[in-house]
Symmetry: C2
Subunit: 270 residues, 2 copies
């Protein structure tokens, strides 16, 4: 199992790369190839669009690579997602792609093009409290499809998104067909009024309204709302589901934290 | 000229109400009726949805009211915008509606339903440095359609939106037809990476791509991007216009500040 790491958004920290390589060495069941592009910087990004796209296309088209693991989130994968999908070679369809947060732009676009994608922990997560377990969870899924890594209540086709990323891909070429799937959403570092506004936007979308159910992952690091918003994130999500006729099916075990579980984007016919 | 003030989003400050009433008294060319709902509070909002909606409907349906002036932005008008438009009486179509920022949800929905709406300063702006001029500019337009209040480069049908509000109304029932209009956008208190992401979202939209031209108002109070983003707001907007085939037509004289000009939402046949 040969896993390539590229950074389509922001740069990977060297100490994260070293820590993940040490975990892989201890495991002995896979090989990790961290692309040097992961350490480039160009303003906000891990190198210019051209460099991030070239590294991504390189590992996508490399037939010796079994899985592509996105190094971390941040922001920027949307800037190259459509270009990454042009004239896909067969080798691109023979591997798995994993990440979350900003990588959701890629997961969605790749899923639309028939590739195998999964929401799950990323290399930079090793720096979180409990991050080694998160990295091993991702590797356990990539290497052996260990079912204990999966979000525990998955039941049929599902997708997972950061709520803000989901909002920003609606209406773009990256938007997937949500018909009949369970939609899991999570959020981080957004004030409650923003979450309310984003839920208004997302649940108004006719495509999103075709989901089977919506479930709410963790909402972490919420900046203070001044004044107090008056309801919490679960009440907000439940209300917008109710208003839009979407079935709210409770909480989900995903989030911007070390406990984040794996959600493969299964199709209705998978 | 009888102007009613309601607060569909957040509460109006008492000192702003008093200062605007004093301006109106000095002018002597209009009457200002500040609805008591403006001072309600319910968590983030100027009263519960029901109270904000009831006050808005009350002034919309009051045939003695010539104009409805939204007290301020913040967040929350999207929560009542669709309900405000149900079974509109003739009196609602015989008046003008003015505001900006979060009020863009209402301006858009009202415009869709044939009402006369304009982007322009709001009562709470009186508390800004230079705010008296902003309030007089709004009143000069509401009372006498003074052309000196208008955004100076308007040429044909136009709409103005806060960029984040625009992003959040795409795909909802409030989305207007952008075909052939000049779209003016401004932003406040958003990091550059968020502006880049929102421009990706907005300019990917097929409806937005039918605008005649896009112009950029002021982008104020930008929180630090860590690391430095690498390009400024004008470069960001120009790039996404270029990528999406939208004609970028330079800057616009609107923004979250006392210099904010008036932009009536004209139709292509007006």
């Amino acid at each position: 199992m040969r896993i390539a790491v590229v950074a389509p958004s922001c740069p990977l920290k060297r100490e994260a790369a070293d820590a993940v390589q040490a975990i892989v060495t201890r495991r002995g069941d896979c090989e990790l190839v961290i692309h040097p592009q992961c350490f480039l910087t160009d303003g906000h990004f891990a190198g210019p669009d051209e460099a991030r796209l070239a590294a991504l296309r390189e590992v996508m088209t490399d037939a010796t690579v079994d899985a592509v693991w996105f190094a971390r989130g941040g922001y920027g994968s949307n800037r190259i997602a459509e270009a990454a999908l042009v004239d896909l070679p067969a080798a691109a369809a023979a591997k798995t792609y994993m990440g979350y947060s900003d990588a959701g732009f890629l997961l969605s676009g790749f899923y639309n093009n028939g590739l195998s994608v999964a929401w799950g922990p990323m290399p930079q997560d090793v720096l979180r409290e409990g991050g080694e377990a998160a990295v091993n969870r991702a590797l356990d899924w990539l290497v052996s499809r260990d079912p204990s890594t999966l979000e525990p209540a998955l039941d049929g086709p599902a997708m997972a998104f950061n709520l803000t990323v989901l909002s920003n891909l609606l209406g773009t070429a990256l938007e997937p067909d949500f018909t009949g799937i369970d939609l899991l959403v999570e959020e981080v570092s957004e004030q409650l009024y923003r979450i309310d506004r984003t839920m208004f936007h997302v649940t108004a979308n006719p495509n999103v309204r075709r989901v089977a159910r919506l479930r709410l992952g963790r909402v972490g690091n919420i900046p203070e709302n001044d004044p107090d918003f008056g309801r919490d994130e679960c009440e907000i999500v439940e209300e917008w589901c109710h208003r839009s006729g979407i079935t709210f099916a409770g909480r989900a075990d995903i989030g911007h934290d070390a406990s984040n579980r794996v959600v493969p984007f299964l199709r209705r016919n998978d």
